[in-house]
Amino acid sequence: MDVGNRTPLYEAHLAQGAKMADFSGWEMPIHYGSQIEEHHQVRRDAGMFDVSHMCVVDLLGAKSRDFLRYLLANDVAKIDDQPGKALYSCMLNKRGGVIDDLIIYHMSSVWYRLVVNAGTREKDIAWLARHAASFGIEVEVRTDLAMIAVQGPSARDKVHRVLGARADAAAVLERFYATESGPLFIARTGYTGEDGYEIMLPEDEAEDYWYALREAGVSPCGLGARDTLRLEAGMNLYGQDMSEETSPLTSGLGWTIAWQPEDRRFVGREALEAEREAGPLQHLVGLVLEDKGVLRAHQKVIVDGLGEGETTSGSFAPTLGKAIALARIPVGEATHCSVEIRNKRLRARIVKPPFVRNGKSVID
């Protein structure tokens, strides 16, 4: 068997008893004992995730802004004049399919930082490089950086304690902003529905910070908990809830498309306009199982009078004590549906994600 890629925190994970598994070619911690305990730790206090497998890309050059306005379905013009501000966007192909979803940080007029998924790293870099040449943009893949996400209601306080004097720059950050502090890049963003930071740092400092955070009472959490947290937060996972075969309109991401100004000809715009014009046939919704059982990805969904669809992500939701899912179903008015599990039809309620925000259920 091939040995997967390892992050600078690999040894720390083993030392802390992590159960490791392959994740898009990376050997990553799934949990350190109990996935559910780690989930609750983030909702109630503070947990940290090694997300160094995610790919940080710096775009450098005077035309970086023009380049991104062409390449992304969301419009970086929204974050002009707001240094440090983050924007979430899809990067589309010509057919309007999602190549990847990513976060862009606007650091200066000549520097935007992107964070893309581990599983799409190679094709993303190739796509960026292919279009960058004509804009004279330098695409720098920051393999020298590790990334630690610290999330939860007390995450920021605990990070500030560890950062000492470097905490000042972080403490004044508003949500969805990033700043540099010495060699650290600190962003008040995340993938859990909780407050907290995503911290990028030189790889040779990652382990010291990891243990210092542990010392400050931040629990190590695996990617298992990260998945149930993001699902409760109603956040899509690339490759599961959307792909190159689905558009943002059928993936619950219509809000990330910047239609205005109309003369911004971003990649995929024509296909999206045609789809909007015709009216999308499907949409992504949330499901809460009312019968007993567990929702999983790829279960058949039957909506009376409307037709069939499929769950795209599903799990037991530890915060709710119920099974939840994201599902792509036919567009139309419906409050309930059936989900086929092991040849039985179980009843589920259709809701608008998210399911949980800041530790609390938001579905009732």
Binding site: S34, Q35, I36, T228, K292, V294, F316, R342
Partner: protein
């Protein structure tokens, strides 16, 4: 190395079997199996009285991670199920050989039990899979 009690019988599919004084058997999943699956969140048990054939899938344990079928170790009839697991599936993690048992059955032929693995045999299966 996880705990594999000597007094129990085992299957290759990670169930354990205990012979009870009244002639029934109790079935559960091994400590190794619950460790592999992780936190249990749902257990679906067979109906009482259901007739089972050896290796028939008759129950499901679901962890946060995945659903896993449970197979009947021998032919027989279900006499009792552990209904406490409906509300508290985590008992399977906490006490796999005790309160975390899944169901009881009356074997059609007790001699069939001799065909199951002993602790050493099961340890070999686990070592093979590692």
């Amino acid at each position: 190395m996880s705990n594999v009690p000597d007094e129990l019988k085992y299957t290759r599919s990670h169930e354990w079997v205990r012979r009870e004084a009244d002639g029934t058997i109790t079935v559960g999943i091994t400590e190794h199996a619950q460790e592999l699956l992780g936190d249990m969140v749902f257990v679906e048990l067979p109906e009482g009285g259901r007739a089972l054939t050896a290796e028939e899938d008759c129950a499901v344990v679901e962890s946060v991670k995945a659903a896993s079928d449970i197979y009947a170790p021998v032919d027989g009839e279900v006499t009792e199920v552990n209904s406490a697991l409906e509300e508290s599936p985590e008992i399977v993690n906490q006490d796999p050989y005790g309160d975390g048992w899944l169901f009881r059955m009356r074997p059609a032929d007790e001699a069939e039990l001799d065909g199951l693995l002993d602790a050493a045999g099961y340890n070999a299966v686990v070592a093979e899979e590692a």
